[in-house]
């Protein structure tokens, strides 16, 4: 009975929502007048040394606006452009990312919250959910792409065409309705996209942490991803959303200066290069953005690094050297120039013994003692590895030639899943679900029935492995092919592979892009591990529990990774020679129709009569006819005596040639 009642109840709730809406917003406005929960802006920077001697810098700006009517359409801090966008297109959630370079899942990790939510495919990725009836979603999406295109100086408007975006149902984001997803893998990302992004910040890049964004040093990085995320603020008890949160992040992987790869075998100079914030980013933090509620800088040491540190410390104690009290900033492995304001430790059930450390600095305080700069000096070589996703996903093309091919997605165990599920006694029943979401442009005609799955190099029957699959086949020039599926792999899987065959289609001549001979892109596939969550809990500290960055870390999002973008060479016409094509076809047509008409038009007897009539008419035509008749009998005589005719011809030719030579020589 209850089961029956519940959907009706929710339906009622849905129906009553528009009616109850004004009263709720009025309520929040009242709350807004209280003053403390109205609009908030926070800025944070996370620095993290990476195992391959690079440094990750992650800027996190968060802007929260309550849905308020006290100022009408105006806001104190929240960017008006975004709030208008949200209002006009009824955007519930949205994410837009501009990325250059590839996230290296092997050495930069793929398990922690940063890599899981900030590692994005190259180019532009946009997804959004809308608060509109399903039949208006597409219209809203199209308008949104155009607005964003203008706002961010990018060609996001190309996502307007229905052949470029798709509507994933469950494999991309769990339980998301009205979602549209589109990518532009070839979009070039540069400062013209960063400047409008910075304009959304209340202090722009004039003050606070954002002043670190020196363009040359940011774009010198190995990976660069700027992201804009809109999400509803915390759900209030009565179920209505209370406002909107704008989260702007910039993730950069930088190479410390003065780095020269060592080519010696001995590991003596394997010490990671020393870096400072000013050398990495080219600037120092002069002070906080006064509009920001909090302004923090974090330095994160990963689990692997902390474990190594502990091992080193034990070793040193064993040898007998005294360990200093302030070993957090000065220890045998490294030295930090500034004492942290607080140190956070990761808590919760951790797969490896050690927990990661987070050093926090509050910018507000350090302004008194000059600009804030952080130095990290390495003293001894440290080798550690990042937490990696349970399976490393890679995708590649198979086959060659212009006709057929295959897409292969290969998943390879990173050795982590044994740790995750090691405690499970019944390994047989243990299953690791993997979601695969892949969009393929229409000119790659994928045959979904050719799907083959191999687990540990053994071919498996598709129903045994695939738990759930949704396929929407492509339609020429209208819809892309979309594939969502859930693979259930055994926990102890070493490697898994999936292949899909495709045919290469033909494009119309005016559908080719200007650089058609490069090939065509297949956007990244998204591999999600719904049972594996990327979350990090840090022990509570008075000033840190409000930190949006750390609360993002606490969110239980499934681990997600993107595969490579693929380049498919398609058959391309020779664009440089349309003239030749036109000439040849015209010649062929002229010859064909000319001779056809000739044959159709002529009648033998008519011809004769005409010839005779002509013969009477004028002396010139009579002469011509005579000449013609002479030529006409020539073929029969040629077998016996063609010498007369040919000698005449030869003389004529020689005469013409001589005239031509004279002309050439004397002219």
């Amino acid at each position: 009975m209850e089961l029956l009642r519940r959907p009706i109840f929710s339906l009622l709730l849905l129906l009553s929502l528009p009616i109850s809406f004004p009263s709720i917003s009025l309520g929040s406005a009242v709350q807004g007048e209280d003053g403390h929960r109205e609009e908030e802006f926070t800025e944070e920077l996370l620095l993290k040394p990476l195992p391959d001697r690079k440094v990750l810098a992650h800027f996190h700006f968060e802007n929260t606006a309550q849905r308020t009517q006290s100022y009408g359409r105006h806001h104190h801090l929240f960017p008006k452009a975004i709030s208008q966008l949200v209002k006009k297109f009824a955007v519930r959630e949205m994410e837009l990312s501009f990325t250059q370079g590839r996230w290296n899942y092997e050495s930069w990790g793929g398990f922690d919250p940063i890599s899981s939510s900030n590692a994005k495919p190259p180019g532009v990725e946009l997804w959004a959910t809308f608060d509109v009836p399903p039949d208006q979603v597409d219209a809203s999406w199209k308008n949104l792409t155009h607005s964003l295109s203008g706002l961010f100086c990018a060609s996001i408007n190309f996502l307007e065409s229905s052949a470029t975006y798709s509507a994933p149902e469950w494999a991309f984001q769990p339980a998301s309705g009205n979602l549209r997803y589109g990518t532009l893998p070839r979009e070039a990302v540069c400062t013209e996209n960063l400047t409008p992004w910075l304009k959304l910040l209340p202090c722009r890049d004039k003050a606070g942490i954002s002043s670190l964004m020196d363009r040359p040093s940011i774009y010198r990085g190995f990976y660069h991803s700027q992201r804009l995320r809109l999400r509803p603020a915390k759900i209030i008890a009565d179920g209505a959303d209370s406002g909107i949160v704008l989260e702007q992040t910039l993730t950069v992987v930088l190479q410390p200066n003065g780095f020269r790869t060592k080519s010696s075998h001995s590991s003596e100079n394997k010490i990671s290069p020393t870096w400072a914030m000013s050398s990495l980013l080219g600037r120092k933090i002069e002070g906080r953005c006064v509009l920001a509620k909090s302004s923090n800088v974090y330095l994160q040491l990963e689990r692997g690094l902390v474990a190594e540190l502990n091992a080193l410390k034990e070793n040193q104690e064993f040898v007998g050297t005294t360990v200093l009290n302030d070993d957090l900033i000065k220890n045998p492995a490294f030295e930090i120039s500034v004492k942290p304001d607080w140190v956070l430790k990761e808590v919760g059930n951790l797969p490896t013994g050690s927990s990661s450390l987070m050093y926090g600095y509050s910018i507000g305080k350090s302004t008194d003692s000059g600009p804030f700069d952080l130095h990290l000096t390495w003293k001894s070589p440290m080798v550690w590895s990042c937490p990696r996703p349970p399976l490393h996903a890679s995708r590649f093309l198979m086959g060659s030639g212009n006709e057929r091919g295959a897409i292969a997605i290969s998943l390879r165990s990173t050795g982590l899943n044994e740790g995750l599920y090691g405690s499970n006694k019944d390994k047989e029943s243990c299953v690791l679900p993997v979601n695969v979401f892949q969009v393929v442009p229409w000119y790659i005609k994928v045959y979904f029935h050719t799907i083959k799955v191999f687990i540990d190099e053994q071919r498996k029957a598709v129903p045994d492995v695939i738990e759930k699959i949704r396929v929407s086949p492509s339609e020429d020039k209208v819809l892309p092919g979309v594939m969502e599926m859930v693979l259930k792999l055994p926990c102890g899987v070493k490697s898994a592979a999936m292949t899909l065959e495709f045919d290469k289609g033909f494009l119309h001549i005016d559908e080719y892009p200007p650089d058609a001979n490069q090939g065509f892109d297949i956007p990244s596939a998204i591999i999600t591990f719904p049972n594996v969550e990327a979350a990090m809990h840090f022990n509570q500290f008075s000033s840190s529990d409000k930190s949006p960055l750390l609360s993002r870390f606490r969110e239980k999002n499934p681990v997600q990774s993107y595969t490579e973008v693929l380049l498919v060479p398609l058959t391309t016409p020779d664009f440089s020679m349309p003239y030749n094509v036109i000439t040849i076809t015209c010649t062929v047509f002229a010859l064909y129709f000319g001779s056809l008409l000739n044959v159709l038009r002529k009648r033998a007897s008519e011809e004769e009569r005409l010839l005779r009539a002509k013969g009477r008419s004028s002396p010139l035509s009579r002469l011509l006819a005579k000449l013609r008749r002479k030529k006409e009998v020539e073929p029969q005589s040629s077998t016996t005596s063609s010498s007369l005719f040919s000698s005449k011809l030869v003389v004529k030719i020689i005469l013409v040639a001589a005239i031509a030579i004279c002309w050439q020589y004397f002219g």
């Binding site: 590839r102 050495s107 075998h265 058609a516 693929l566 060479p569 000739n598 010839l611 040629s638």
Partner: protein, 698 residues
């Protein structure tokens, strides 16, 4: 044709032209044949200077960044490799050293183990890549090789494309020069791991060439492009002992190193460079030899050769060479011909200073030798190096073969050489890296007459077209002639019936002989299974079986018709000519150079052929000379004879061995060359048909 008494309208001009040509077929054939051969000889004069067609390449626009530091590191690697070799360490130790060097640069390293396949004749796989599943059965388990692959990821690139560097290296038996080639590539690779301008990933393949350079590269490409899931490991364990895998190579102690057994990949390959260092004892300058011919006469895009040539000549001051037929350079007739052409050129210039088609005699001889080698290599259809494996996957590739001057080698001054070679490779990679689209601007069909001059397809088609033109004309003329003869003799129904029967008979004969040719082409498949050891024996078996097969055909299907008409040989010749025409035209689409050579051999023979008996009966001087000519041409037209004559002309007759022909043919099918198909399915049947005409008994 038409009745003469009525004032009949003229036939259409195109028909008239055809009739004119047919009636003058002898003159036309002679003129066409001679002008075809002359045009072929004129090709070196008609060659154009190469130019860089794709503007995006911008070769040499950036200063080379390769520093002495990179070279010093490379030198260290060379020294390490040589030390290891002198200590006679096992090959996997050396592979590990190379892998460690690469991983120290921050690049990803992977190993690939493969079993070389034995060459076997598979008649159905001529133009397609063999099915990977069937390959597994034929592996030779006792020997395996391991490729080392290093991948430098472009720091800001999207990883969609890759440039491949290949260094063949025999880990078991390598000398200093081989080590130098590894060092040379290493110096470039170490630079490329640090540069920021890279847009495409760089793959460095150290191909283990103990089972052949080509097969190691081909094995890697096969795994890269068409990997086999599932069945591979099963077959691997069942056919081969999997205990001798190379997991011992894995350096588990160092977590930081990115060395794995996984097959590592990058994106779509844009271009590939194969780098080799050999000692040719060049006296004065460092030279660079370019090899570009892939299977079936396919060539890489001319732009790739252009940028290598441009950078080598104008930036690094290397002496660039392409292959030449050295025996042609000293040929007397060629020198005379060159002087004639030079003289004609001089006279032409005197007449009009604008006419500048004459080239110096030495240049002409050089160009001809290069052109001949280019034609020969394309006609053979066998790739001239490991770069050929790339062309099968539509990747442009070229082999750069450096040979340092004697002086620098003897003094142990490798560094200068490494800097020079390294900067050249860096420049080429930088150019290819600039390229947004794949190579498509310049020519794919061309012949080189020197590293800087080429003959494009539009020009070299002319000699072939001229050679082939007389065939249909002659065929038509013969046909009309026999028709006229018959109609003159008697004009009743029986004769018409007989006439069409003669024609049908000839067509049947041509078809049957071609069918025989197809069977002959398949015979080696059976011979391979017989297990006869020596090439001479194989050849004997093959020819015996062919003859036997032919006799069977004669007996069962009656190739020789019962009633031999007077003009039967003419109809047969006409049918043969059409068959030759069709065959040559088809072949020119598949492999132009083969068709060109084929036309040179077949066309004169087919045009001149005349029954011996008729000539003997007539007994005039003309007839006698024609007879001699026929006999000589038929001798030359026989493939084994042609091969022996060519080999003798090139290498001298003293070294000829009967089995050579078998070895040569074996190499043709081992490389999937279409030339083999041409020889057995077009050339041989046509030759046999000519023999039929020659031995025709009234």
């Amino acid at each position: 044709m038409a009745a003469p008494e009525t004032p009949k309208l003229k036939p259409r001009p195109i028909v008239r032209l055809g009739i004119l040509l047919i009636s003058h077929n002898l003159v036309v054939s002679v003129i066409c044949c001679i002008s075809g051969i002359v045009a072929l000889l004129l090709l070196p004069i008609l060659a154009k200077n190469t130019y860089i067609s794709e503007n995006a390449l911008m070769p040499g626009s950036a200063n080379p960044m390769l520093s002495t530091q990179d070279v010093a590191d490379a030198n260290k690697l060379v020294k390490d490799l040589m030390d290891l070799k002198s200590e006679s360490t096992s090959s996997d130790k050396m592979q590990r050293v190379v892998a460690e060097y690469i991983s120290d640069l921050g690049a990803e390293v992977g190993y690939q183990k493969f079993y070389p396949q034995s060459d076997q004749f598979n008649p159905l796989h001529f133009f397609s890549l063999p099915d990977p599943g069937t390959l597994q059965e034929k592996v030779n388990c006792s020997s395996f090789a391991i490729n080392v692959i290093g991948i430098a990821r472009a720091p800001r690139g999207d990883g969609k494309e890759a440039i491949v560097l290949v260094t063949p290296y025999n880990f078991e038996d390598a000398d200093l020069l081989d080590a130098l080639s590894v060092g040379l590539t290493y110096s470039v690779f170490s630079l490329l791991t640090q540069v920021t301008w890279l847009a495409k990933d760089i793959i460095w393949l150290v191909a283990d060439s103990r089972c052949g350079e080509y097969s190691s590269v081909a094995a890697w490409l096969r795994d890269y492009q068409t990997p086999v899931f599932g069945s591979s490991s099963a077959a691997d364990s069942s056919t081969c002992d999997s205990s001798n895998t190379f997991y011992g190579l894995k350096d588990s102690s160092v977590i930081e190193r990115k060395i794995t057994d996984n097959f590592r990949r990058a994106g779509t390959m844009a271009a590939a460079l194969v780098i080799k260092v050999i000692d040719k004892s060049e006296p004065f300058e460092d030279t660079l030899s370019l090899y570009a011919e892939a299977s079936n006469g396919q060539m890489p895009n001319l732009d790739l050769i252009n940028i290598v040539n441009y950078l080598a000549v104008h930036r690094q001051g290397l002496h660039v060479k392409v292959q030449k037929l050295t025996s042609l350079i000293n040929a007397k007739w060629l020198t005379v011909l060159a002087q004639i052409f030079e003289y004609v050129g001089v006279i032409a210039r005197r007449l009009n200073p604008q006419w500048k088609f004459g080239i110096p005699a030495a240049e002409y001889v050089d160009g001809t030798a290069t052109l001949a080698s280019s034609l020969y290599n394309q006609a053979l259809g066998v790739p001239t190096g490991p770069h050929g494996a790339f062309r099968d996957y539509q990747v442009d590739a070229v082999t750069l073969e450096f040979s340092p001057k004697v002086y620098s080698m003897s003094k142990g001054r490798h560094k200068e050489f490494l800097v020079q070679g390294g900067r050249l490779i860096e420049g080429v990679i930088r150019s290819v890296n600039n390229l947004l689209e794949k190579f498509h601007q310049s020519f794919f069909l061309y012949l080189l007459t020197s590293p800087g001059r080429f003959v494009s397809v539009g020009v070299y088609m002319i000699p072939f077209a001229l050679l082939v033109t007389p065939l249909p004309i002659m065929a038509a003329s013969l046909y009309t002639k026999t028709n006229n003869l018959d109609s003159d003799a008697e004009t009743n129904d029986l004769s018409i019936y007989q006439k069409s029967f003669t024609w049908l008979n000839a067509a049947k004969k041509v078809l049957l002989v071609h069918l025989w040719g197809a069977i002959v082409s398949l015979l080696p498949y059976a011979i391979c299974h017989l297990g006869v050891s020596t090439p001479a024996m194989n050849l004997a078996v093959w020819s015996m079986l062919s003859v036997l097969c032919y006799l069977l055909f004669c007996l069962i299907l009656g190739v020789r018709s019962a009633k031999s008409g007077k003009a039967q040989w003419a109809v047969l010749k006409s049918a043969t000519l059409s068959a030759v025409f069709i065959g040559l035209c088809l072949m020119s689409v598949v492999n132009f150079a083969t068709a060109e050579f084929g036309a040179l051999l077949l066309v004169p023979m087919c045009l001149v052929i005349y029954p011996l008996k008729s000539d003997l009966h007539a007994g005039g001087l003309m007839n006698f000379s024609r007879m001699a000519c026929n006999l000589a041409l038929v001798l030359i037209g026989f493939p084994p004879a042609a091969f022996i004559l060519l080999k003798g002309a090139l290498d001298g007759f003293h070294s000829i061995y009967v089995g050579d022909f078998w070895i040569w043919v074996e190499s043709l099918w081992a490389w999937n060359s279409a030339t083999y198909l041409y020889i057995t399915m077009i050339h041989l049947p046509c030759w046999l048909l000519c023999l039929h005409v020659l031995l025709h008994t009234r």
